[in-house]
Symmetry: C2
Subunit: 245 residues, 2 copies
């Protein structure tokens, strides 16, 4: 295993940061790593809003379900799937852009995710840690308004970045045999394998919480999925010009 | 700039590969890097189908719009957004899973993208190169059938991996000022900046094709977006249990 593989496999989300700043030029290099990721048909559909305004940061803490590290992280980035820029390109050539396709939603969203993961890897290589903030989708219209996002732009997730002031353990992942399949999907033995993995996850939580949390993976999933998942998202995205056809 | 940042910034898609194989244990380590990526609420919603069967590889070449490197790459992986496994977890606890939310489509799709980008970075660190294959969505129902994907599983993209037999140039990306914005979205100067960037892209294509291709970025985008984008995707995804509400 080389150093990069070790680095990738040792990923944990970090939510407590020191006061050490991340200089703007360093952030710029990290963003360039994001830009260098593959982009579907060269659309380059990711735009990053770097939130510096402390008032906006505080508002985002609340909008994302009270996540105080949005305010305390050295940097807070919002990754936006952006077809507004493609509209500009079409306008430059007086082309009538066809938008609203679900396929375009997929490519723009994936562009953002590949971009962001490169930024995070670049960050890790510099000793900077962070966490994705899906919680900005809790109140996505308010986040959209706060950041003045135009039509055809939606905030996919946020990301806190900073130098770590905590050192969480790596969370055990599903066994490889469940996740990597050969030539076809078959899940005959997956329930059994998940049961065994459940005990690993239970141990991880027990150790991490001094016995207070004692939940298996499948239990956690089963509890979560009986609840509605941000049911406002469909109408919101349609209003932004996505998922219409 | 450290070695990891250099590696990330030097990414190019590679479509020609030597015969050198990628051993299964090396692939396993790369997949573990994928698994180590962040996953929304720990859902771990990515499953990878490693396609070894040569007949299936040949079929995929055609289904993805005649991309022969799907057959010739040392490895071909199909990344699937997988809520079937979450269904298994719910079944283990006799929980009634609520599915069909657009939000779940987003989280499962992003899980796959973060996972895949880590796999690709791990590959690069070993001198292995590759290319994402969004073309599997051209005939996504046929790909679904070929890989025997159950309900609630959809193939997001493929990925060819192998040792490179070509050395393409790095494609220039949009200027940082267009992609990274501060506190709010504003695009007042973006058209001007895109015009300047257009000339860089034109130069890149001219050099790469000996003058045959001579297209600016905005031109390329404008030409592409007057066409429908895989208009079957919405109905397909709904039939798989996604994007229903």
């Amino acid at each position: 295993m080389n150093e990069i593989i070790k680095l990738l496999q040792s990923h944990r989300s970090v939510r407590k940061f020191t006061d050490q700043p991340i200089p703007q030029d360093v952030l710029g290099e990290m963003i360039k790593c994001g830009q260098a990721a593959a982009t579907s048909s060269f659309i380059q559909a990711c735009t990053v809003i770097q939130v510096e305004d402390t008032g906006k940061r505080e508002q985002l803490v609340g909008l994302a379900g009270n996540q105080p590290y949005i305010a305390s992280a050295a940097r807070f980035l919002v990754y936006c799937a952006d077809m507004n820029r493609l509209q500009l390109a079409c306008d430059m050539h007086k082309s009538e852009m066809l938008s609203g396709f679900t396929e375009q939603f997929i490519t723009a969203t994936i562009d953002c995710a590949l971009f962001a993961q490169n930024v995070l890897t670049a960050a890790h290589s510099l000793g900077i840690e962070g966490v994705y903030i899906g919680g900005i989708r809790n109140n996505i219209q308010a986040v959209t308004d706060l950041l003045e996002l135009p039509h055809l732009v939606y905030p996919v997730f946020g990301m806190c970045l900073g130098y770590p002031a905590q050192n969480p353990e790596v969370k055990p992942r599903l066994p490889l045999s469940v996740v990597l399949k050969k030539d076809r999907y078959q899940d005959d033995t997956d329930t059994q394998t998940i049961s065994e993995y459940d005990e690993q996850v239970r141990d991880y939580y027990r150790t991490r919480t001094g016995g207070k949390k004692d939940t298996a993976w499948s239990e956690q999933i089963a509890e979560m999925l009986v609840k509605e998942a941000r049911p406002h998202m469909k109408a919101y995205l349609e209003s932004r010009g996505y998922l219409l056809k």
